[in-house]
């Protein structure tokens, strides 16, 4: 094939190249295959939005504007129960802290039971793992609702909900961390004649502790977020106040609480990042 400069290129040239290299040119079928998924997705969204009665969004406009105005315009701020709000926020923090702590302690035990290199009996490991799958499969909010039914309204239900769902997730992460460790230290400890508990304490723990600490701190962060929501089902904390104020049409207070919660979450993120760096930097230096 002769080389042609861009000016002298004719349709005939293009046709020859098309004949020689059909794969380099777009074909109608290729175009259809390329755009079909997108078209299906668009049609799907339109159909489901119609099924979900999208039109209601347009009808709602007369309710939307007053609501948004009530969120932004804060009236009678001196009569708000600030004490109650900040007690609620500290309760949320306390729930997240206790739940994560209990979850961590529980996972320390369960994580070792679910780790392949620690637990010699496959059957125990399988049972523990399936149990953890179930704990993880049910959402934290559902656990919250269940525990509200079991122990009544209040932060105790929230702590238990966070504990149970953390137990499911953290144990899995812990057991994976335990499975990924270096065997040599463990064998070294075992060679000195140490018992199984000493092997875990001096062989495994020093290697996995930084991972454990950083993961638990991550969970403290995310549990602070979820603890604000747990109150919506009655499991204590600031969420209870949010939904109470919302039902009483005190939208300005709802907005105030949400802004406070967002600031709190931001602070916790920052603090937990600092602690994590401190704790892990400390461990790797040694």
């Amino acid at each position: 094939m002769s080389m042609a400069s861009i000016d002298t290129l004719t349709d005939a040239h293009i046709d020859t190249v098309r004949m020689q290299h059909p794969g380099a040119f777009a074909t109608p079928r290729g175009q259809i295959r390329r755009w079909a998924p997108l078209a299906i997705a668009v049609i799907y969204v339109i159909v489901t939005m119609w099924y979900f009665e999208f039109g209601r969004l347009l009808d709602a406009s007369e309710r939307v504007l007053p609501l948004l105005r009530n969120f932004v315009v804060w009236r009678d701020m001196d009569t708000w129960a600030y004490g109650q709000i900040y007690v609620g926020i500290s309760q949320t923090l306390a729930m997240a802290f206790l739940g994560t702590l209990l979850g961590t302690l529980g996972s320390l035990v369960v994580g070792f039971l679910a780790a392949k290199n620690v637990m010699p009996f496959g059957i125990v490991r399988q049972i523990v793992r399936r149990f953890l799958d179930i704990l993880r499969g049910i959402d934290q909010l559902v656990w919250g609702l269940v525990f509200v039914r079991a122990v009544g309204l209040g932060p105790l239900a929230g702590v238990l909900a966070i504990f149970i769902s953390d137990l499911g997730t953290l144990s899995k992460l812990y057991s994976e961390a335990i499975e990924n460790i270096d065997k040599k230290q463990v064998e070294g400890i075992r060679a000195t004649g140490a018992g199984p508990l000493s092997v875990i304490r001096y062989g495994y723990i020093p290697q996995v502790l930084p991972v454990f600490i950083s993961q638990s701190l991550y969970f403290l962060e995310s549990n602070t977020r979820s603890a604000t929501i747990l109150g919506i089902v009655g499991a204590g904390g600031i969420g209870m106040l949010i939904i109470e104020r919302f039902r009483a049409s005190l939208y300005d207070q709802v907005a105030f609480i949400v802004v406070n919660v967002l600031v709190l979450i931001f602070l916790i993120d920052w603090l937990s990042k600092r602690v994590r760096l401190w704790a892990i930097g400390d461990k790797t230096e040694r």
């Binding site: 997705a41 799907y44 969204v45 489901t48 939005m49 099924y51 979900f52 009665e53 999208f54 209601r56 969004l57 009808d59 709602a60 309710r63 939307v64 609501l67 007690v87 500290s90 309760q91 923090l93 306390a94 729930m95 802290f97 206790l98 702590l101 799958d133 179930i134 499969g137 049910i138 959402d139 909010l141 559902v142 609702l145 269940v146 525990f147 039914r149 079991a150 122990v151 009544g152 209040g154 932060p155 105790l156 929230g158 702590v159 238990l160 977020r225 604000t228 929501i229 919506i232 089902v233 204590g236 949010i242 939904i243 919302f246 949400v258 967002l262 979450i265």
Partner: protein, 314 residues
């Protein structure tokens, strides 16, 4: 004792200190380090103990309340276990339409109600993921530091995505339920907004790692900014985008199964009703269906992700 071979940094610390051989210098240095570290350890433990005490006090997590609550937890879980009898387990409905007590049919009397709601839940998750992902897709280009056409647009799209993912879905759903009434639309919109924020951040990170050469190539042949994005960036990042969107879909199935707690559609509404008003085997029936659905969706989505990613990469 200068003839003792010293190694490492210890030699410089105090190798020739009067009256100190290498071992005692080392021990002294170690003691100093330990002392300084002990201060921090005590501080950390004190802070931890204060946090623990305060949170126990604030959340009323007292041993007596826990002891009173624990038996009730087991009692409750006892009541939600279905009373199945082996001999009539697979018994169908009798001629008059009544199910035999102890059979699966009896346990799952409302199966079709649940099935319709589960189907609605999955539809909600899919629609919300598609809507959220398309917003995230559009905003991820201006929100990537290396691709943003100007700093104003960059700042604006970043903040917008942060606000979208900052507010919990269920709060958004609460507001939407108030505005447009009870039903799945509120849930779809709430999840879509949260998805847009969460995926937008991930997509923008993928974009920031994209190679700049194809973009420069498109720019060199005269492509404008949208063309640079469409032909320079999208082909590189689309497998990652797809994978993240599928992961988000799995998360959204969970989210849409609980968003009904505030009246925003899906199985959550039924779950809330069943848990709040009954304490019998219906709770277990719905929970099992939800867990099975979530697990099956996870498995399918994992399959699809691996097939697509495998095909794109190799």
């Amino acid at each position: 004792m200068s003839d003792v071979p010293l190694t490492g940094g210890m030699a410089r610390v105090g190798g020739r200190a009067p009256g100190g051989d290498a071992v005692s210098v080392f021990e002294r240095h170690r003691a100093e380090l330990r002392a300084s570290k002990r201060g921090w350890t005590i501080f950390a433990f004190a802070a931890f103990a204060i946090c623990l005490g305060a949170s126990i006090w604030i959340s009323n997590f007292f041993p007596d309340r826990l002891a009173a609550g624990l038996p009730r937890i087991f009692e409750y879980f006892g009541t939600v276990i279905p009373d199945l009898q082996w001999d009539v387990l697979f018994e169908g409905r009798a001629a008059d339409g009544r199910a035999v007590a102890g059979s699966i049919t009896y346990w799952y009397t409302d199966f079709w109600t649940y099935a319709v709601l589960i189907w609605e839940t999955i539809l909600m998750a899919m629609t919300a993921t598609l809507l959220g992902a398309s917003v995230a897709f559009v905003l991820s280009f201006p929100a990537a530091a290396n691709l943003a056409p100007n700093s104003w647009l960059y700042w604006f799209s970043r903040r917008f995505l942060e606000i979208c993912r900052g507010i919990p879905e269920i709060l958004l759903a609460l507001v939407f339920v108030f505005m447009i009434g009870i039903g799945p639309l509120a849930g779809v919109l709430a999840i879509a907004i949260h998805t847009a924020g969460a995926l937008g951040k991930l997509f923008a990170e993928v974009n920031e790692n994209a190679s700049s050469r194809p973009i420069e190539g498109i720019a060199a042949v005269g492509g404008n900014w949208p063309e640079q994005m469409a032909y320079g960036v999208v082909p590189q990042v689309s497998p990652n985008f797809f994978s993240y969107a599928m992961l988000r879909f799995e998360i959204n199935v969970r989210a849409s199964s609980i968003i009904g707690f505030v009246g925003a559609g899906g199985i959550g509404q039924e779950l809330n009703r069943v848990i709040s008003f009954y304490s019998d085997d219906r709770v277990m029936a719905v929970l099992i269906l939800v867990v099975v659905t979530v697990t099956v969706i996870d498995l399918i989505s994992e399959r699809i992700r691996h097939t697509i990613i495998g095909r794109e990469n190799f």
